[in-house]
Subunit: 145 residues, 2 copies
DNA sequence: GCGGCCATGGACAACCTCGACCGCGGCATT
DNA sequence: AATGCCGCGGTCGAGGTTGTCCATGGCCGC
């Protein structure tokens, strides 16, 4: 993981379909050297996946919420992960400091489907209650993963 | 925007470097038809960009937090946007229902730099106070934008 | 029915990918 | 210093992919 790798990743972030030759020309490497490095970065898990950013409105995913999860007793992160992994509406989630056990970012088609997804989380074992904040207007969306 | 387009986007989400021929075989279209549709989707802004998902730990961005922002009086979303756009640690943010005015997802190198970024937000005009939940362990990270 | 419109599939040249092979430089061992 | 090893980059060529062209066929309004 050197400056060359970082340069390759920067370029791929801008355009993941860029040719190896083009990338190489940019950072001063041959096409095959670039491919080798990209393969290595992918195998090592540095590059998790090649993907596309799609306009969320097109998916009809207008409705978002941040949900705090409060559990009964102590719950291992693995437990929470198993619950949340089954809910596709969950975009990102993590256990947190503070009174809540976890915060979950959800995105859904509309309020009813968001409510349905929320209900699935609420019904999970150990989950005591949740506290939702529905997103009114998205201000910033810079997330890359 | 039909089922074919949706199929193409689904496949590209899984692997943005997939060949047009492969995609076509999957959804029942020729390579050229697929390319045309991808070009159109890109031109129309449905596909915003082709990108890579990189392990955040590699960037040294280990530290995350969800921050609720409470303002004095009423603040227009534009105002909040201007404040938050200047803070690169902000990954995503939105105004929300509930007692907080906005929720902000931040990612930073370490606690001190997170604190510094938080301080910039707190000092902004109209911001009364904030409430932070630092992420202990990331459970899910499916966000694509 | 007819013409225009649009999307598809096929064909082909240009281009890119990807694996094999080779050379170079650093490093440890002898 | 010489040797062998290892990682890394360059070059090359076969095979696959891309991107453009054109002909075809469905669909709609006239």
């Amino acid at each position: 993981m050197d400056n060359l790798d970082r340069g390759i990743i920067d370029l791929l972030r801008q355009n993941a379909r860029a040719g190896y030759g083009d990338i190489g020309q940019e950072i001063g490497l041959s096409a095959s050297a670039v491919k080798r490095r990209v393969d290595r970065l992918t195998a090592d898990g540095v590059i998790r996946s090649f993907t596309v950013q799609v306009d969320p409105a097109v998916d009809g995913l207008h409705t978002e919420a941040y949900v705090e999860i409060f559990c009964r007793g102590t719950v291992a992160p693995d437990e929470l992960l198993r619950i949340l992994a089954d809910v596709p509406e969950v975009i990102d989630a993590g256990t947190v400091t503070g009174s809540a056990d976890a915060i979950v970012h959800m995105r859904s088609r509309d309020i009813p489907s968001l409510e349905a997804a929320l209900e699935r989380v609420r019904r999970a074992p150990h989950v005591d209650h949740t506290r939702s904040a529905i997103v009114l207007s998205r201000l910033i969306s810079r997330a890359v993963d």
